[in-house]
């Protein structure tokens, strides 16, 4: 661990900077929503301008991706320092929009580029990510592949100085609003299932790429079907070696798991603690205990699970002493984070009763509607980024060393 007192000094500086630089007009806004594609587009001009100012200020400090080298737009900070930045921004009621604005850029593409990219590739791509200006999507899943990524059939044909891509991707997050895409493609049809695969990067604004948003049960469309028809990826945009895309994507997915192990994201669910919401909707008895004891008991379990998850994340970080290593613990944390969050959303709905089943209209508070949508959207947490079952396979095999089963569910 860092020297605690140095970190304390750093924290004081960060706190002051955030207070001085976070635009007051953004306070209380749905910042996560604004940073995302859909509601961001609907925001008014004043808010948009303030958001842009805030982004620029963060980008200048290199705090969009604080642990990246300064030359690539980061701030060259340690992980504990980066955590301090996140915590202080959260404490101030602010929000760091850059990771969100870059789609998969900060969390997945960047760290993988840092490891597998050539100097040219890093110089070309990283700054745009760290500054929040370039949004990335990832073309990994395909229809009928699901958790079985390696059964992909999108082909990249060698055309001399470029590859021509043909095929269909699905669940491409934010494809319709992204500038770049990292795609997993088959470059050798004769090789084994995981051998003939490569990872290429390509710009989305080109004729051979078409995106169709998929409407989800929560009513939003953050994902697309993405069609490649002779889409062009330059040879220089091949990440990692030809036909070695599987190792690139494995690393990418580790970063994904890592990014899904829970953190501080502003959400409707967080704006009022569940027990306060329950006191409001359900009421308390003369001892101050919730009237609905069955609910109370399950609420305590969820609180304890949330604490256990947080403590475990902290312990694992501390034990790894801040090293970048993507721990095998990521699978455990992803599943516990999912369980806690999904249960929390269900509890919030239960607490709100018939106010927790609203879809739209003035009959429901904005927060109530937001929680319902978040509940629905959150069902994806145990599906995407390696399903709950896939994480259990990983724990069973990689962490516990149990023999591989012939069946991965």
């Amino acid at each position: 661990m860092e020297n605690a007192s140095e970190l304390d000094v750093f924290r004081r500086d960060v706190k002051a900077w955030v207070q001085n630089n976070f635009p007051s007009s953004l306070a209380g806004q749905d910042l996560a929503g604004l940073a995302g594609g859909e509601s961001g587009a609907r925001a008014n001009d004043e808010v948009k301008t303030a958001m842009e100012t805030w982004r620029q200020r963060l980008a200048e400090k290199g705090w969009g991706a604080p642990t990246w080298p300064v030359e690539y737009g980061g701030a060259g900070l340690s992980h504990p320092e980066a955590n301090v930045i996140g915590e202080e921004i959260f404490q101030a009621g602010a929000y760091n929009p850059i990771p969100h604005m870059t789609g998969m850029g900060v969390t997945m593409v960047g760290p993988t580029l840092l490891e597998y990219g050539t100097d040219e590739q890093k110089a070309q791509h990283l700054k745009g990510i760290a500054s929040g200006e370039i949004r990335w999507c990832l073309g990994l899943s395909e229809p009928n592949a699901g958790s079985d990524l390696a059964s992909l059939s999108t082909k990249a044909e060698d055309k001399g100085d470029y590859f021509a891509l043909n095929g269909q991707k699905i669940w491409t997050s934010g494809a319709h609003i992204s500038q770049w895409c990292g795609a997993l493609v088959r470059t050798d049809s004769n090789a084994g299932k995981r051998d003939g695969i490569s990872f290429v990067m390509l710009p989305m604004q080109q004729e051979g790429v078409e995106t169709r948003p998929i409407r989800l049960i929560s009513g939003v469309s953050p994902f697309c079907e993405t069609y490649f028809s002779d889409a062009r990826a330059e040879k220089g945009d091949l990440l990692g070696n030809l036909n070695d895309g599987w190792s690139v994507v494995k690393r990418l997915l580790q970063h994904e798991r890592q990014s899904q192990t829970g953190g501080q994201g502003a959400s409707m669910l967080d704006s009022e603690p569940l027990h306060v919401k329950a006191q409001r909707f359900v009421g308390s008895d003369e001892d101050g205990a919730l009237v609905d004891k069955d609910l109370r008991q399950r609420l305590v379990r969820n609180y304890m699970d949330a604490t256990a998850h947080r403590l475990t994340a902290e312990r694992i970080t501390a034990e790894a002493a801040g090293r970048v290593e993507v721990s095998a613990a990521a699978s455990i944390l992803k599943n516990s984070n999912t369980r806690v969050a999904q249960t929390k959303a269900e509890l919030a709905l239960e607490i709100m009763g018939s106010q927790g089943i609203g879809w739209s209209g003035d009959d429901f508070a904005e927060e109530e509607l937001g929680i319902v949508r978040e509940w629905l959207a959150g069902k994806a947490m145990s599906i995407y980024g390696g399903s709950y079952e896939v994480q259990n396979n990983i724990i069973s095999k990689n962490v516990l060393g149990l023999p591989e089963t012939t069946q991965k569910g």
């Binding site: 899943s141 009928n144 592949a145 699901g146 958790s147 079985d148 059964s151 699905i170 669940w171 998929i214 409407r215 989800l216 049960i217 009513g219 909707f281 359900v282 609905d292 004891k293 069955d294 609910l295 399950r298 999904q342 269900e346 709905l349 239960e350 607490i351 709100m352 009763g353 018939s354 106010q355 927790g356 089943i357 609203g358 879809w359 739209s360 209209g361 009959d363 429901f364 319902v372 629905l376 069902k379 994806a380 145990s382 599906i383 995407y384 399903s387 709950y388 079952e389 259990n392 089963t405 069946q407 991965k408 569910g409």
Partner: protein
Amino acid sequence: MAALTEEQSILKDQASSWVESQLPVQKFRDFRNSNSDGGFDPEAWSAIVEMGWTGILVPENYGGSDLGYLTFGLILEQLGRQLCASPLFASAYVGATAINLGGNEEQKQSWLPKIVDGSEILTLAVDEQSRHNRDQVQTTATATDQGYELNGAKTFVLEGMSATTFVVAAKTDAGDIALFLVPADSAGLSRQGMSTVDSRDYARLTLSGVEVGQGALLGAMQGSQLYGRVLDRASAGIAMEMLGVGCYAFEMTLDYLKTRKQFGKVIGSFQALGHRAAELYSSQEMARSCAEAGVTAIDQGADDEAAMSAISKAKTGEFLFDMSNQLIQIHGGIGMTDEFDAGLYLKRARVLETTYGNQAQHRDRYASLLGF
């Protein structure tokens, strides 16, 4: 617990094939897409009336078939399977129950035949806060020379925009809770639709100085006793619909387990999923037993009707909660899309869960009934 009679089995099969052929879930989806304000398909409703389902709880001398609660429940189960929207439950189950138990001869004669022929759509207006709580009734019914004056507000009224008459729970001058028949077009009554996740018809009511006659009071049974029994029976009915929703979700999931391939195998061959399916199936069978026992207890006039109602709502709730979540989880990404039906079942499941008391409330009620 007895098996279904032959008559019940035949009716169930008929309902099943009618619903699957005439009102598959696609119909509900089309309706939702065309009309996001909730409601139901009037053609389907006419057919339901024509088939006599509105008369299942109505004695023969009032134009019904008097086939009983289990039979009605089997129909609700079938409708639940395809998420069919209709005021059948609100009017011909809950409404008819209120009149049967609480109505005098005159009231029965004037209301029951209209429930049967569909010319009146009744519904219970009970909740006043977002969480169902049968003891929390603030709406008042003050005696007047001509009858009663009702003041208050109700929320989450099933079929609230389609109903022609509300069965309103209100506090009398004596402090008792009683049920009153209030025509939807009464002066002083206003209603507003609620847009809910399941795209059905719910409304908030406001009653300010609503005047009704003496005949509005359902007084054949002591008020709060009537009120409690209507709610118990309503819960048992909801449980049968929930059973149908859950069973269809199970079948969709089982089908997917048998057809969807990953890693070169159908996913149902993965032991972890096979065992999960086994647990869900077991939970489904337990839910069926409890749901059928809930309505059967009413038919039998059993002493433990209230306790069985609590069990039926709680246990089908438990099954449907897990099942609707697993419906999404096992279908994976496709389950998250609006285009696929899983979301419709999940959303309906949560609305039914909160209707007339959720699992926790019914567990609490059960323990209280058993005295601990």
